[in-house]
C-alpha cells in the first residue's frame, strides 16, 4: 500500500502548502520506496487526487517529488496536467529532485514546458546539490516557479554558517533574477530561522515548522 505523507510549507506565518512524500507500507512499517520507477503515473495521480480531497481547506498547493526519469516520462507528462485540469482549486507542483540520473537537460526542459502549459508549478528541489546545478537551473528557469534551497544538506558540516551564507545569497539572487519564488527547507531550530530569514524566503519548510504526517485517504 502506498500513501503520501505531507510536510507543511509556510509563506510567512501561513501554512499554505504541503510537500507530499510517497511512502510504502511493508508489514507495520512505512518505508521509503527503493525504486520509484515501479509506480506508474496512474497510481500516483489516483493517490494524489484522493490526497487532495483529504487535505485541509487552507492548503492551496500540494507538491510531489519526481526524479529525472519520472519527470520526463510520457505517462507523467500526460497524467499530471490532466489531473491539474480536474482540480481547479488546488495548485499542483512538481519538484524535480537533485538525484543524478543522466537525463538530458533538453528533455527536462521540454518536460518542464509541458507541465507549465498544463498549469502546474515546477520547483527545482535542492538547488546547488546533485544535478540541480546552475546550468540546469538556468535552462529550466523560464518554466519554473520555485527554487528550493535545502538547508539540511549543510547541517552536518563544520562552519555551517560561513558555508551556507554565500550559497543562500547566491540562490536568493538567482531566484530574484529569474522572477521565481525562493524556498528554503530544512529549518530545524531557531538558529536556522535566524540565519535563513535574512535571505527573505517566500516559502519555508522544515521540522521546525512541522514534520511529515500521514494523510489518511481511507
Amino acid at each position: 500500500m502506498i500513501r503520501f505523507w505531507g510536510q507543511p510549507k509556510y509563506a510567512q506565518a501561513e501554512r499554505f502548502a504541503l510537500e507530499l512524500f510517497l511512502r510504502e507500507k511493508i508489514g507495520d512499517q512505512w518505508t521509503f520506496p527503493q525504486d520509484f520507477g515501479r509506480f506508474n503515473a496512474k497510481d500516483i495521480t489516483t493517490l494524489l487526487q484522493q490526497t487532495v480531497a483529504a487535505v485541509p481547506k487552507a492548503i492551496q498547493m500540494v507538491s510531489i517529488n519526481l526524479d529525472q526519469p519520472e519527470f520526463a516520462r510520457a505517462d507523467y507528462l500526460k497524467a499530471l496536467p490532466q489531473l491539474q485540469a480536474q482540480l481547479p482549486e488546488m495548485q499542483l507542483c512538481v519538484e524535480l529532485t537533485e538525484r543524478p540520473n543522466g537525463v538530458a537537460i533538453s528533455a527536462l526542459v521540454a518536460a518542464a514546458k509541458v507541465y507549465q502549459a498544463g498549469g502546474l508549478w515546477v520547483c527545482i528541489d535542492d538547488v546547488g546539490t546533485g544535478d540541480n546545478q546552475p546550468e540546469l537551473v538556468q535552462a529550466l528557469a523560464p518554466y519554473v516557479q520555485e527554487y528550493k534551497f535545502a538547508l539540511q544538506n549543510f547541517h552536518d558540516q563544520k562552519d555551517f554558517i560561513t558555508l551556507v551564507s554565500p550559497l543562500l545569497q547566491f540562490w536568493r539572487e538567482q531566484a530574484q533574477l529569474a522572477g521565481v519564488f525562493f524556498a528554503i527547507e530544512g529549518f530545524e531550530n531557531k538558529a536556522d530561522l535566524k540565519i535563513a530569514t535574512n535571505y527573505q524566503p517566500d516559502i519555508m519548510q522544515g521540522y521546525y515548522f512541522g514534520r511529515p504526517q500521514l494523510i489518511d485517504v481511507s
Binding site: Y10, A11, Q12, A13, E14, F16, Q60, M61, P88, E89, M90, Q91, G119, W121, G179, F181, D202, I203
Partner: protein, 451 residues
C-alpha cells in the same frame, strides 16, 4: 430619503472619516498639550502653547488635506492637496480645518482628472517631468482658487452659524443652540463657535455671577460618550472594536475630535449628537449649572475641576452630562441598529466610475500567499503594454478606502474587508491566491479600462 441619496451622504461621510481617522494622534497631541499649557490649563505656558496654536492653524488642516488628497489621488494627490490647503489656511479666519477637508479630496480628484487627460500625450521617458510639473502647476491654481473662492465661503458659513447661535442665546433658547453647535462641531467648527461666541459671552456672565452655563454647551462630553458607547454595543467591524477606547479618550481626555469620524461615517448620527446636546444643555439650564471659566479640553475631569463649589453645582453638572450621554446613546443605538447592512447582502464586486490605479491583494495578518499572488499577478501584467497599475499586498487591518483600488481577497474574507473598508469598493474574491481565474478577469478589466 431614497437609497441613492442615503448612499451619497454616507459616501461623503466616509470621505470625511477617512481624512480624520488616520490623524487622530495629532488631535490628541494638541488636546493634551493644550490641557497642560493653555492660558486656562494646569500649568499655563505661553511659549509652549504656541506649539498648540500653530499646530491647530497649520499642522491639522495640512494633515487632513494631505490625507484627503492622497486617499483620492495617491501621494501626488496628497501633495497637491497640501498646497491647495495653504490657500485656505492663509486667509480663512476660523474655518481653515473645514476648508482643508473640502480642498483635500477635490485636489486629489483634480490630480486624477489632469493625469487622465495628460497621460495619452506624454512620451515615454517624460513621465516624471510631466507628473511633477503638472502637480505643481495644478497646486498653484487650486491654492489661488482656495484663497479667493473657498476660504471666504467657509468663513461666511462659519459666521452664519455663529450668528445663529448668538441669536438663539439672545432669544433665551439656549438648548436649541445645540441644533447648530453639534453638526458644526463634527465639521470642526467647534473652535469658531467656542472662541467666537460662547467663550466671550460666557466670560461676561462669569464676571457677573461667577459662573456660566455657556462654558458647558460645547464642552459637554456627554453626546460623544453616548455615541461611542452605542458603537461599542451596537456597532460593527472596526468601528465597534475601537469605540470603547475612543470613549475613554473622549470622556476622560476631553479629545472630542475622536468621535467626529464615527458621526461622519453615518451622518444620521447627527440626530443623536443634537438630541444629546439639547438634552444636556436643557438639563444644565434647568438645574442652573455652570462653570467658572472655559474648560479646555472638554474632559469630565477639567469640567468637574471648574465647577463652582457646592454639592448642588456638581450634581447639576453631572446630571447634564449624564442626560446628554443617555439620550445620545439611545438615539445612536436605534440609528446603528437600522443602518447596518449585513455582509451577505453586499455584492462581491461593486461598479465604480473611478479608474483602477492600484490592486491590493489582501488577507489576514501573517498570510504570505497574498504577497506571492502579487508576484504572480505582476508577471501576468508584464504582458500588457501601456498599463501602469501598482500591485501590492496589504493585511486587511491596514486597509483604508481608496476609490482607485481594486481589492482581491479570499472568498471567506470578503465580509471582513467590507467591515474594514466601509462604503462602495471594488472587490474580487478568490478561493486560491496561487491559482485563480480572477487574475485573468483583472487583466480583462484593465484592458477594458484602457479602451
Amino acid at each position: 430619503m431614497t437609497t441613492s441619496i442615503r448612499k451619497q451622504i454616507t459616501k461623503v461621510g466616509t470621505v470625511l472619516t477617512d481624512m480624520v481617522m488616520p490623524n487622530i494622534a495629532a488631535f490628541i497631541a494638541c488636546g493634551l498639550l493644550a490641557a497642560v499649557c493653555a492660558p486656562h490649563g494646569w500649568w499655563p505656558n505661553a511659549d509652549i502653547y504656541r506649539v498648540v496654536s500653530l499646530s491647530q492653524a497649520y499642522l491639522i488642516p495640512m494633515l487632513l488635506a494631505f490625507t484627503g488628497g492622497s486617499n483620492v489621488g495617491g501621494h501626488r494627490g496628497g501633495v497637491v492637496a497640501a498646497i491647495t490647503a495653504m490657500g485656505v489656511i492663509s486667509t480663512a479666519q476660523s474655518a481653515a480645518i473645514l476648508g482643508a477637508m473640502i480642498a483635500g479630496p477635490v485636489a486629489g480628484w483634480a490630480v486624477n482628472a489632469v493625469d487622465d487627460w495628460l497621460r495619452p500625450h506624454v512620451k515615454q521617458g517624460f513621465e516624471m517631468l510631466v507628473n511633477n510639473f503638472s502637480a505643481g502647476i495644478l497646486g498653484i491654481l487650486l491654492a489661488l482658487a482656495s484663497y479667493y473662492g473657498l476660504a471666504p465661503v467657509v468663513d461666511a458659513g462659519a459666521s452664519l452659524l455663529a450668528s445663529g447661535v448668538a441669536n438663539l442665546i439672545a432669544w433665551h433658547l439656549l438648548p436649541l443652540a445645540n441644533v447648530i453647535i453639534e453638526p458644526a462641531k463634527v465639521l470642526f467648527l467647534n473652535n469658531a463657535l467656542n472662541h467666537g461666541i460662547l467663550t466671550p459671552l460666557g466670560m461676561q456672565a462669569a464676571d457677573q455671577v461667577g459662573k456660566s452655563v455657556l462654558f458647558l454647551v460645547e464642552t459637554n462630553p456627554g453626546p460623544g460618550l453616548g455615541i461611542l458607547l452605542a458603537f461599542h454595543y451596537f456597532g460593527h467591524g472596526h468601528s465597534q472594536k475601537s469605540a470603547g477606547n475612543a470613549a475613554i479618550i473622549e470622556f476622560f481626555g476631553g479629545i472630542h475630535e475622536i468621535y467626529f469620524p464615527y458621526v461622519l461615517s453615518q451622518p444620521a448620527l447627527l440626530l443623536a449628537a443634537i438630541a444629546g446636546g439639547v438634552a444636556g444643555t436643557f438639563t444644565f439650564s434647568s438645574l442652573d449649572a455652570g462653570l467658572t471659566t472655559v474648560a479646555s479640553p472638554g474632559s469630565i475631569i477639567s469640567i468637574l475641576l471648574l465647577t463652582p463649589h457646592g454639592l448642588g453645582s456638581f450634581l447639576a453638572v453631572v446630571a447634564g452630562v449624564l442626560a446628554a450621554a443617555v439620550i445620545s446613546f439611545g438615539v445612536a443605538s436605534v440609528v446603528l441598529k437600522y443602518s447596518h447592512q449585513p455582509a451577505s447582502d453586499v455584492e462581491v464586486i461593486q461598479p465604480s466610475k473611478h479608474a483602477i490605479r492600484k490592486i491590493i491583494i489582501t488577507g489576514t495578518q501573517g498570510m504570505g500567499t497574498p504577497q506571492m499572488a502579487v508576484t504572480l499577478l505582476q508577471a501576468k501584467l508584464k504582458n500588457l503594454n501601456d498599463i501602469t497599475v501598482s500591485v501590492v499586498a496589504q493585511p486587511i487591518s491596514e486597509l483604508t478606502p481608496d476609490q482607485n483600488a481594486l481589492f482581491i481577497t479570499r472568498d471567506d474574507l470578503v465580509s471582513v474587508v467590507h467591515d474594514q473598508v466601509p462604503g462602495e469598493i471594488r472587490i474580487l474574491a478568490v478561493t486560491n491566491y496561487l491559482k485563480s481565474p480572477v487574475y485573468d478577469q483583472v487583466l480583462a478589466m484593465l484592458q477594458a479600462q484602457k479602451q
